[in-house]
C-alpha cells in the first residue's frame, strides 16, 4: 500500500467511520498515516514477537478484533495492500465473525502483486503466472511450469518451519535455489521486487541471477519474479480434438 495513493474511497470511509480501527501495514510511515486519519487506531504490531509462533500472534490479532465486534462495535481492520492476499488474519477474522452470526465484509485493496504487474510491465495473462509462498514451495511437492511467470513471496524467511522467525539465511536460500534449479538454469534472470510504499520513493527492481539469490539482500517484503525460461508447448492433441469438434459442429449445422 502506497501512502496516500492506494486506499479506495470506500476503504477510507470505513476507516473514518468505524468505532474501532486496527492497523497492520508494511511501512511505519503508512502506519502513522492511518493514525493521522484515526489517532485512536490500534496497531497490531505488538502481537509479534521474535521467537513466538506467528500462528499464536495471528490468533491473538483475530481475537482482539472479535472482542470489539462482539460488543457491537463497528470494527475496521486496515491491512497492507490487499487484506485478502497472503493475509491469514483478515480471512480468519471474517470467517470467525460470520461463524458467530456477526456481519463481516472485506474491501479489496491494491496489493504488491498489482504494483508488481504495473512496475515490471508484466501481464500475467501473457504466459500465465504462478504464485507461491517461498516456504510452502519448499515444504510441498509443487509442479512449476517454467513456460509461465513464477512469483515467489516471503522469500526473506524461506524455509522457516518454526513460524517464529522473520528471516532465515543463505543456507536456507541455498536449498530454495537448488529446488528452483530443477526447473531453471542457474544463470536465469530473477527480479527482486519490492513495491514502493511512499510516493517519494521508487520500487526495488533488482535483476539478479538464480545463483546469486543465496547471498542477495532479500527481506520479508522482497518478492522474486522469474520470467519464463522456455517457450509454451502447443498441445497438439487437444488442438486436433478441437478441430474435430469444430468440424462436427459445422456438419451438424
Amino acid at each position: 500500500m502506497m501512502l496516500g495513493a492506494h486506499v479506495s474511497p470506500r476503504s477510507r470511509s470505513h476507516i473514518e467511520q468505524a468505532d474501532v480501527v486496527f492497523v497492520l501495514v508494511s511501512d511505519p510511515l503508512v502506519e502513522l498515516w492511518v493514525q493521522d486519519m484515526r489517532p485512536d487506531a490500534r496497531s497490531l504490531q505488538p502481537y509479534y514477537l521474535e521467537g513466538k509462533s506467528r500462528l499464536a500472534s495471528y490468533g491473538e490479532m483475530v481475537e482482539a478484533m472479535l472482542v470489539e465486534v462482539r460488543q457491537g462495535q463497528r470494527v475496521c481492520g486496515v491491512f497492507y495492500g490487499h487484506p485478502g492476499v497472503f493475509a491469514l488474519v483478515p480471512h480468519k477474522a471474517i470467517q470467525r465473525a460470520r461463524d458467530e452470526g456477526l456481519a463481516a465484509h472485506m474491501e479489496p485493496g491494491i496489493s504488491a502483486e498489482d504494483c508488481l504487474y504495473a512496475d515490471l510491465g508484466i501481464d500475467p495473462g501473457k504466459y500465465g503466472c504462478q504464485h507461491y509462498e517461498a516456504s510452502q514451495l519448499m515444504f510441498y511437492r509443487r509442479r512449476i511450469d517454467p513456460s509461465a511467470y513464477l512469483v515467489v513471496w516471503q522469500v526473506g524467511m524461506a524455509g522457516d518451519r518454526s513460524l517464529a522467525r522473520f528471516s532465515t539465511g543463505p543456507a536456507y536460500r541455498q536449498l530454495l535455489v537448488e529446488l528452483l534449479g530443477r526447473d531453471y538454469p542457474m544463470d536465469h534472470p530473477v527480479i527482486a521486487y519490492e513495491a514502493a510504499t511512499l510516493p517519494i520513493t521508487a520500487p526495488r527492481m533488482d535483476e539478479l541471477r538464480l545463483s546469486e539469490l543465496v547471498e542477495a539482500d532479500l527481506r520479508l517484503q522482497t518478492t522474486l519474479v522469474f520470467p519464463p525460461a522456455v517457450p509454451m508447448q502447443r498441445n497438439q492433441e487437444m488442438l486436433d480434438r478441437l478441430s474435430e469438434l469444430d468440424r462436427l459442429t459445422r456438419t451438424a449445422a
Binding site: 511505519p28 502506519e31 493521522d36 491469514l88 488474519v89 515444504f139 510516493p199
Partner: protein
C-alpha cells in the same frame, strides 16, 4: 509533524509534481530543517526516525503451513 504525513498523502493522491515543483513545494513546507532535508533526499528512514515511527515493522500475516 503531521505536516509531513499530510504532504506525503497529497503526493500519493496527486503525484504530478515536477522535480522543480517538488523542491519548491518542500522548501515552503512547515516541517523543520530536518524534515525538509529528509523529504528532499526522499529518505523514508530519516522521515520515520524524525516522526518517531516504529523502528521495525513486521508485515507477515500469512501462514505457509497452517497445519
Amino acid at each position: 509533524m503531521t505536516n509531513i504525513i499530510r504532504f506525503l498523502e497529497s503526493m500519493g493522491s496527486a503525484p504530478a509534481l515536477s522535480r522543480d515543483q517538488f523542491i519548491r513545494t518542500v522548501s515552503a513546507l512547515d516541517v523543520g530543517q530536518e524534515g525538509r532535508r529528509a523529504l528532499l533526499d526522499r529518505d523514508g528512514v530519516a522521515l520515520n526516525k524524525l516522526l518517531e515511527g516504529r523502528d521495525e515493522l513486521r508485515c507477515a500475516v500469512f501462514a505457509e503451513d497452517e497445519d
